[in-house]
Symmetry: C2
Subunit: 127 residues, 2 copies
Amino acid sequence: MRITRGRKNILSVLFQAGTPLSLKEIYERVATYESAPDYTTVFRMVSLLENLHVVEKVNLQRDCSYYELRNPDEHYDHLICTYCGKVQRLDLPCPLKSFEKQLQKSFGFQINAHSLEFFGRCQDCTS
Amino acid sequence: MRITRGRKNILSVLFQAGTPLSLKEIYERVATYESAPDYTTVFRMVSLLENLHVVEKVNLQRDCSYYELRNPDEHYDHLICTYCGKVQRLDLPCPLKSFEKQLQKSFGFQINAHSLEFFGRCQDCTS
DNA sequence: ATATTTGCAAATTCTTTGCAACTTA
DNA sequence: TAAGTTGCAAAGAATTTGCAAATAT
């Protein structure tokens, strides 16, 4: 696998984002760089990164998929404000670790991953 | 709002399902009934029910949306087997109630809903 | 009779693929 | 040069809408 200029730029966009981005958003942001890759290239690059578990798909209950960088051993849960649209990562230790062990025991279900998103109203939209 | 035969049938399919269904699946199942509604009707009915909070959209990380009946005051988390595709409802008290309160306090984020799905290998696929 | 609901066809939008041209090691 | 990568165009698929005909109250 080759590290081309375009790919570096896509990674750079993802790295700077701090919040999940749609393919369209990645494409638009990367378009401001030199040698901007085309939409298909963004799609293929993100799919590749997803297969390598470097990028994770996040479901924001909108009309397309969103993606964010992750570490192989770490993943994020999210707080999604349905009023202003802001998406925050939940920077707390995931509350489901022990629950997952319990599930494993009671149901014999071996858990490899979970997705957890909270929807509501953020501080700015409450006050 | 009128309770037509077609709508009754759609509700009946959802009621009997016990697991989230895609629009296509609902359409196919309802097609075995008398006076089967067309796909668009299924779409519109399910959208309507979703707006009324009678039906909830579930993200199974597949290529389309899935829907299931819910009670106004209750909702389901899911165990999704990525080997055989089986989807089980999690019939345990949701482990996030107290965590949500904590979030409310520490982040000032007022939570209205969450989606929680576990992915892994079910008992049948482990043995 | 009036308002709602339905079916069909077609538009939209997101996602994905084929292939020839182009790079990069 | 040989393999991987890119762009363009177009295909596929899920979702959504317009509108006239049909139906329920």
